[in-house]
Symmetry: D2
Subunit: 364 residues, 4 copies
């Protein structure tokens, strides 16, 4: 349903064209100094209208705290964060409310909810709701940071362009991917932008791949056998609209090449390589958690497409006119990073590695 996580638990609400979008974060440890600025910064990365390659919709995405923070610290009570929607034109949705957009959730939502779903802008299924993931992820990252855990997501593919030449450290990736396409390979980034602009000019869209890396997650995290690190992350990734694939590590073709040898380094057991993507048997190895997520091309395109009128039960066609993203990959990057942060924090809380109260802050 609309709740994700066991101990760090998000519950989303709101719709694209309703009053607001919001998230209730339950299980956030008490005693976290709440940094509102960092949340807004993360939201700004996802926000529409940042550059010419994304949607030109104007949404400020300023958030408000409804509960759970007192005297600038988290209290242990549920944290409710909300973004009020600005008045939006819903007229176009009325016109095509019976004509589901191909590739979008319009049809399945109609079936699942017997036609009572809010069809304006995808309603609860709108990508706009991913702002809630970003808020919850920003809070999760504040906590993970205290435990030395750093997470970055970046674009590794858009259209047919691969990011090939990118740095190895999270810090460098973060710096170098601070561009319109969130790609750490500057040359590839240029070509990606070209392909996006081309798609836009053709009223079409293109997809891509986002990689995410989390460093310093201690070994031993993950709840065997069913609640694996990979499974919990994958399940959450598929709750991001447009994600169709999740892939961990770099599988090699032979066992002898794929197996990551164990070595001792600085008195600690480690793996020499990290083909496993940081998990064996569903439990972290201590190597970076590393996975890639395939994002399909945005389904809302202005090209004419075949559909049906579900009320008249007749074939028809539609053009999805409006301010849509020709490529949602760049805006998916902070979302993937945020969801990963939420899941990793959840797994660490479940493993008892992070406590319910951040003790170093314990009130005298």
């Amino acid at each position: 349903m609309n709740t994700l996580g066991t101990k760090y638990r998000l519950t989303l609400f709101g719709e694209s064209h309703g009053r607001c979008v919001g998230v209730v974060i339950d299980g956030c440890p008490a005693g976290l100094k709440f940094d509102e600025v960092s949340i807004q910064k993360e939201l700004d990365k996802r926000r529409p209208g940042q550059s010419e390659i994304v949607t030109q919709r104007k949404e400020e995405d300023k958030f408000e705290i409804l509960s759970g923070v007192f005297n600038n610290y988290t209290t242990g009570a549920p944290i409710a964060l909300i973004i009020w929607n600005k008045t939006q034109e819903s007229g176009v949705y009325e016109l095509r409310k019976n004509i589901p957009r191909p590739g979008h959730s319009d049809y399945t939502a109609h079936i699942r909810f017997g036609g009572f779903n809010d069809y304006r802008g995808g309603g609860m299924f709108s990508g706009r709701l991913t702002a809630c993931y970003v808020m919850a992820g920003a809070v999760a990252k504040m906590i993970l940071k205290k435990y030395g855990i750093d997470i970055v997501a970046h674009t590794t593919k858009i259209g047919t362009v691969d990011s090939v030449d990118f740095p190895k450290t999270i810090d460098e990736i973060r710096k170098q991917s601070d561009n319109k396409v969130r790609c750490a390979d500057a040359k590839a980034a240029e070509k990606m932008i070209e392909q996006i602009m081309e798609a836009r000019s053709k009223m079409d869209s293109i997809g891509g791949v986002v990689e995410c890396i989390a460093e310093n997650v201690p070994p031993g995290i993950g709840e065997p056998r069913m609640d694996t690190v990979e499974g919990e992350i994958a399940r959450a990734m598929f709750a991001i609209p447009a994600v169709k694939e999740v892939l961990f590590g770099d599988v090699q073709s032979k066992g002898s090449e794929n197996n990551d040898a164990f070595i001792i380094k600085n008195g600690k057991i480690m793996t020499g390589t990290n083909n496993s993507g940081g998990a064996l048997g569903g439990i972290t190895t201590g190597a970076p958690i590393k996975f890639r997520v395939r994002v399909k091309p945005a389904s809302s395109i202005a090209l004419e497409q075949k559909s049906v009128d579900v009320e008249k039960m007749k074939p028809t066609s539609l053009k999805v006119i409006g301010k849509h993203d020709p490529c949602i990959v760049p805006r998916a990057v902070p979302v993937v990073e945020s969801v990963a942060a939420c899941v990793i924090l959840d797994l660490m809380l479940r493993a008892g590695v992070i406590p319910n109260v951040l003790k170093e802050n314990r009130r005298a």
Copy 2:
């Protein structure tokens, strides 16, 4: 932990070299005529020693019913199924109990459980436990069959060989993939066997890809937003040892090509293509659910590999001598199919489409 599913719920127990492996199935609808033969048939597909390309271990994998079946029908009570282990040589595991096999869960299990884990044959992490998935999946398939749902898994890649020329219907795939590698493309199958034999001769292993297709799942299944069809399936797939990737449908590079147009056929709304793999917005479209799973090369290989002695904290090496699979993909095929059946049944029960009692059987 060791429980999978919400309404059709598996709890696994047992170890590779313990007394048994078993599964408790909770939530199975009452009134199902229990077909023991079909369960054994499914187990036989996974069983070791079927041909020269898999492990030569001898395990009969005969199962017993401990509870939940009465007068040949399911009662609604938990169904416990068990396979007793035959006496196995554990001596070799004693010798290397402090030397984790690269690529295996030995090390992470050691960390997670403070060294108390049963290290013999991987203990609870052993692939042997997948027999439990197969038993539970066979039961799930009995029920799904009554609702017209058919599921097949088959090998689409082993080593560098792709299955290219294979039939489109589930029935045909099932028939044509009834070979040692579970591949529905006869020519590819031959080459796959060659590559497996080559890997074996080199004391190495190779991986591959399994595709799974489920037909006639009605539209509207899936619990938005977090419990998506894709996410629930993916999470379960990652609970199968060696799975590193889950991919739904066939993502096309442009939105205009990727979007599945809606059409009307036989008075019903359908999608003309099925690039989405049968799900939009995390909810089934009514088109076949279609996904692929990447299986890494088996980690237990006889080639010498680097590792460490975790007790002495010293580098060492090991050769995993024993009756191991040079390629586990063929034996993973029935496991993937079974786990898919369990998840799909669970989602249908959650959606209320399948009732708690199979009414057509309702006792007079």
Copy 3:
């Protein structure tokens, strides 16, 4: 944590002296005509300041819909309902923030959250949050009504006064208990008011018992063995502040008297008596679900009480001055009724008896 229910699922947020209190209702079937008036009516029953026997605080408790309702119908998306708090005097709480009120959650919240809890008015533990239960219960009752299920709660004891002479039908109980103490025995009601006024005059408080009856719940509801009707209701009741006891039916001393004989009436199997309170083996019998809940005397009293200063670790004393209820039983009545409605709806959804979409309303 802060989520209750499996298929009809509440997540609460907000604090007594924060910006708001609110609830996200997930899993509410789509297609329910949303009756805002009935929600407000229920809220008014719980609202402070209704008469001289309850707290004289002025709170309007007007609610707003944030999401999940579109064109007056539920959409299947999460329904977020919120009540904004009016400006409140928090000064008094600052003064005694280190002095936990005996019998209140102040101390345990302090321990559990390392002193970061919002101590003003009990923060998230405030009885004010029960307004959220009432909103969610009002929605649940709208649905249950469509299935012929009627629920009433009424006061059966306050102080030492028992309600003895009260009607048998839900409708009559509802009518006759429409008084200040929510007691269906008019004579007892008068004495109850006297005892409350006496407690108030002595700066003390008194407790009581609330009975709840739900009629027309079909037989067969409840998820054996662990998710029993009684257990699920009891667990939820203990999530209401001040509840210390839950008791089902009327246990008789001998088996021969306690067992409810089965009879046939109007062609249906029923029980002649209902000592079991409508459940056997954790599953409904079809007889009314009937239980009683003991509410302890309110802990906030103006009499001087011993406590400690948790910062200075010194004994001290405090008087809880303010607008407090001398008896919260009357205001607990709508809360018990509401929580019961939520749990019963949840169990009916889990049993598949109520569908995800209210079909009779299905959009053409």
Copy 4:
């Protein structure tokens, strides 16, 4: 369904007249020295045939370990424990399979499972399954003991006889209640036995009350707001057949008497009294958790009772002949204690107070 607990999680299987009864314990910390003798000792307390006041059925209740224990220590893998059933006479159940016993789950199980339930001896609903709680509770107590937590249950009422004069310490209660009725008041115990013998002679049954006390549970345990200590315990208690009431502490009539004053003792904050039963706001105070459970008179009695034939839909009567308990309270005592141990351990694991690996045992 058949799973109880979040981190210490029991899944039950088996039936009264099936092959076995068993439990899978998931989440038991690794590194626990497994004391089989103490489990058997607990089972013996619940076992039938101990004295003349309980059922004269002969069941040895010898358990076996199927998984999860290796070299005498828990491994972190699921622990499956099983008791094989001896051959039992099921003939009598065939005769009355369509005639539900009043007060028993026969009828509701029939409805819930469409008549497919195993009706012999109550099937999965049989009190025999409580042996599984006792096994799981014995394991839980081994762990709790390491953390200084001691739990005792004892009979405080049978028929009309109250236990009045009993000791205050757990140790003393344990010693003095080591009698046939598990009552720590020797004089009351005698009268209880008389009442049981009288009920037996009249082919009737009587009920009673069990009190349970858990000492040294640290303050701050419990997951507010919904997963309260009281609610989690109560929910589990209602999963014990025949329990109809759960009551925490000793509610006093006035707030001034009921509120437990905070005091400082030995440098620690405590409550002077313990009317709250060890919990405020759903969180432990550090005072003993104390609750009482009402057990209804056993429903299986030899006296003639009215019932119906569910197949012929005709009134009939039945006498439940067989070896039944005239009073199940004494045998419920170890069950209540065991279930309490499971829930308290679960809550402590959830709070992170007990780790996943018992560190003091950590393998070198």
